[in-house]
Point group: C2
């Protein structure tokens, strides 16, 4: 694998990760009613770090392959939407707009997986958990929105 | 050109553009001291819309080409940093962190241009004004930071 390529993709993930550090869940989020299946706080940075490494790894594997155009377009789309979600949800505290963004992110990740499957099974496998996690995050966003109609 | 591919790249630009609509310059920004060469407000959405269309066009042209791995990695990096800048600057009102982000964005766009040059001269030419604009935006960020030490 081309490690410089890996680092460029990891840098893109770093921009998304920076939103987590700069728009961290504050008193507002702690005060919201959350469903019983909400993962504990420490899980989020651990999962995201793992997923960002997997995304950069998959990007660097697939970018040099012939026929990777759609995979690359969806890779770019998902990282932009990923970077957008945190400021919208935690920064603006707009749960409904956040839900729109995370549903679009889910579609982008699904598009990425569909594009990766015929190209590279390993890249597909390391990115697949991302779709599971975005599904959980989207469900959490939707649940928190429903449970806190006045927030 | 593959128009569906164009639309996926344009969607990534849409995520970046959404930050401009959601974290718009408010009273805080209007109250800052700005240099005489600050472009008028109406210029920003016009320029950004043009640049986003150019970026999606360049992405869709180049993604299917052999040897486009670095161009695609830098394309993803610049759109993530682009999406990050607005919430940091206008949302958090952190001008110093904004300057760090926009300098990284400048480097990502420079990397994109270096990668585009040997691949596709038309893509290079339509993206080149982006570097000029990010240079102006970075200079404006730096100037506003310097002129408003207490803001």
């Amino acid at each position: 694998m081309d490690w410089i390529l890996f680092l460029v993709f990891l840098g893109a993930c770093g921009a998304a990760a920076a939103t987590g550090a700069m728009f961290s869940p504050g008193a507002w989020y702690r005060g919201l009613s959350k469903p019983s299946w909400t993962p504990p706080d420490w899980v989020f940075p651990v999962v995201w770090t793992t997923l960002y490494l997997a995304l950069a790894f998959a990007g660097a594997r697939v970018a040099p392959l012939e026929g990777s155009a759609y995979a690359m377009a969806f890779w770019a789309l998902q990282i932009a939407l990923n970077t957008l979600w945190t400021p919208v949800f935690f920064g603006l505290q707009r749960m409904k707009a956040g839900l729109v963004v995370i549903v679009l992110l889910w579609l982008a990740v699904a598009g990425l997986l569909v594009s990766l499957w015929p190209l590279d099974k390993i890249a597909f496998l390391v990115v697949a958990p991302y779709l599971v996690w975005v599904t959980i995050a989207a469900a959490l966003n939707a649940s928190v929105l429903r449970r806190n109609p006045s927030a």
